[in-house]
Symmetry: C2
Subunit: 415 residues, 2 copies
């Protein structure tokens, strides 16, 4: 445990300086880091070339190689991403709530940093820069544990962040790279109760499951996105087709992608056919229940697990449901409480859906692919939380803070 | 696991009805429960007499026997407590935040219930009624695991709650009593990941430590309150004496009690002596560092662990520190981030303390004993959270909720 314990203790020792850092100091650190990334673009790419060669030799899959790869455009985009974070409003010290009690006590709830954040992720080096900048802007220290396949790329990026910290007079321990390779260090992070305040895993299902299984430290995790679009009988057919197609096919591998299309049993045949055809014509394979198969002969029979499947691919399940209440019942049973949408012109139907679906994000007449911190106006995000504690949905700067309550009196004692 | 899994599944099945319950329904359930408690006061006390007899026979300590004991006054107070909760504003559905994006999407963040809450507590039957009412008002289902010594008392109380649920047409599974006695059920609760959303332990250090050690479910725990009052050189001596005495001696066993008195090295001798004398004259034993011992000869030498001790008794530690920065440094090193106070007339000193002390509650010129949900104006509380995730300080109705984000559009798709 000692490597992680030593790093976490150093991070904790940095917390007062981070909590007390001015907004200008944090902006300076992040913009200097961005500038260094631009200046050292060739060095970062050279480090990445070494990582890529080793990853290819070790047989990493083409998909993971693509995530690992950096080129001048991706490096510029990272630097740009830091500048975006530096331009976001500083959440630390903002007043959440202010109230008074009859005895004259004056209460102010203000945002403070969460503390020490452990981030465990896989091959994408972009997470390194993003996560460091978001944690720093919210006044947190972070321990970054990236995949060993990205070790040199991450080290090159973290050297730029370290320069930013130094330039701003902030402690180097604010952003630390956990040595890659030794998997016991991940478990040490997950068990560092009292030293690490929260773990944020970013990666595939295997990683998330391992983290949730092992963690003694609280976790802000991102589980499945089994997302639904429900087309109500009152929907406009053109809008329904557009939203359904975008929700599934804009990018099929993102967590906000639609996985199941629900069609109101009371929908006119043209409406139902338009929604299904929009998918088929965009190249999406469909499986469905018997009623769905009657809408369009191109829908194949759904297997038992179809409605519990996150495809993340150009496949979707289709079910016919009995109005809004049928849609809510289906989503309650099969959904993952991530993101669900209704397409409807009937306001009462839409409001019933918004009230009755208990997902992190519930949309009316908009695509599920808006499930993203940037689209929410948060500027950047570190992930989408699907748990029910602390944060639900995009985890951005505010979600990386907690609060304390300041109480101002003039000598009050309790009777 | 099956008993707990079955109970938790029944609780989850009750969630939609609870989330959709009207405020009037919830008020009705709670006020009927309160009325039943009043009507059945004699039966509840008779059940408690049996619990007390068994507890005495098993050698329960006098302090725990006192917590377990019910009389007519305590039963009335419980019913009254339910009426207080029923009068609190319903947090479910309230809007936390509302904003729009340039593409016309309209975002509303609304409060929703947390879900299924597991509460693990010891001998005090009052927790049963309080916890059930608070969870219910916030739209949550709860599994209540009280101590086996209070089994009959708790069952009698829960029968009243069940009547309230039935009268309001709410599912019986909303409030369930976990069978007492079998300790493996507690560990089953702690491991019911995905079935129980959060565990709130209420009890002594042994219980809390066990819960934190074992839990795979997120925990809102209440750890030590090693609370400080710092008397700045600018303090009014009369106010300082009053606050210090109240912070320590009003009730020494509560979590908001002061455990350490910090005195500014620059304080005038009269001020320092007044603060110390206020404690000594109220019957508080004092231990301190060498500088503190020079203030008053009645201060005994402090052992190594004195400044890390939560006495919960009429004993306090005293240290002399170098101004506000010295006080912050001492609190950062020895405190438990629960509740700390400064007594000062100098506004700059006070604001530096409020900003620099990272505790859940930080007070200026008021007693630490105000660390209480009632005193915050929250009406009631289920505990004081000392962690850094989700809630810090009193856990009341709002803290028993989380949010979802509703997004209203008119056909937007993501480019």
């Amino acid at each position: 445990m000692s490597v992680i314990h030593d790093m976490a203790r150093a991070a904790r020792a940095a917390l007062p300086a981070l909590a007390g850092a001015s907004t200008a100091q944090k902006i300076h650190a992040i913009t200097v880091a961005a500038a260094r990334i631009r200046v050292r673009s060739a060095d970062i790419i050279a480090a990445n070339v070494q990582d890529m060669a080793a990853a290819r030799a070790s047989g990493l899959s083409p998909a993971l190689l693509d995530r690992l790869a950096l080129d001048a455009g991706r490096v510029q985009a990272m630097a740009q991403g830091l500048d975006v974070v530096a331009a976001l409003p500083d959440p630390v010290g903002t007043v959440i709530k202010h109230w008074q009690q009859p005895n004259g006590l004056d209460f102010t709830r203000v945002r403070v940093p969460l503390g020490v954040i452990g981030i465990i992720y896989e091959s994408r080096p972009g997470v390194t820069a993003d996560a460091a900048a978001l944690c720093l802007m919210a006044g947190n220290a972070c321990l970054l544990r990236g995949g060993s396949e990205a070790a040199l790329s991450n080290a090159a990026l973290l050297a730029c962040i370290a320069d930013g910290l130094a330039a701003a007079g902030l402690p180097a321990a604010a952003v630390q790279q956990v040595p890659p390779g030794d998997r016991t260090l991940v478990d040490d992070m997950l068990n560092a109760h009292g030293l690490i305040d929260i773990i944020i895993p970013r990666g595939g299902k295997g990683l998330i499951a391992h983290v949730q299984q092992q963690a003694r430290v609280p976790v802000l995790a991102h589980l499945d996105g089994i997302n639904h679009v429900y087309v109500d009988a009152s929907a406009n057919a053109v809008m329904a087709a557009g939203i359904v197609r975008n929700a599934k096919m804009r990018r099929t591998a993102v967590c906000g992608a639609m996985e199941t299309l629900l069609i109101d049993a009371h929908a006119a045949p043209d409406l139902a056919r338009a929604a299904v055809a929009a998918l088929v014509e965009a190249g999406c394979a469909l499986v469905g229940d018997a009623a769905a198969m009657r809408i369009d002969s191109r829908i194949a029979p759904a297997g038992d697990a179809a409605f519990d499947t996150e495809y993340l691919d150009a496949i979707a399940s289709v079910a016919v449901v009995d109005g809004v209440s049928g849609a809510i019942a289906h989503i309650t049973r099969h959904g993952s409480a991530h993101t669900d949408a209704i397409v409807a012109e009937n306001t009462a139907a839409a409001e019933a859906f918004l009230a009755g679906v208990d997902s992190a994000i519930v949309l009316w007449n908009a695509s599920t692919q808006f499930a993203d911190g940037g689209e929410f106006g948060f500027g950047a995000e570190i992930g989408i939380a699907t748990g029910r504690l602390h944060a639900r949905g995009p985890v951005a700067l505010e979600e990386l803070t907690i609060y304390k309550t300041l109480v101002r009196g003039n000598g009050q004692v309790r009777s």
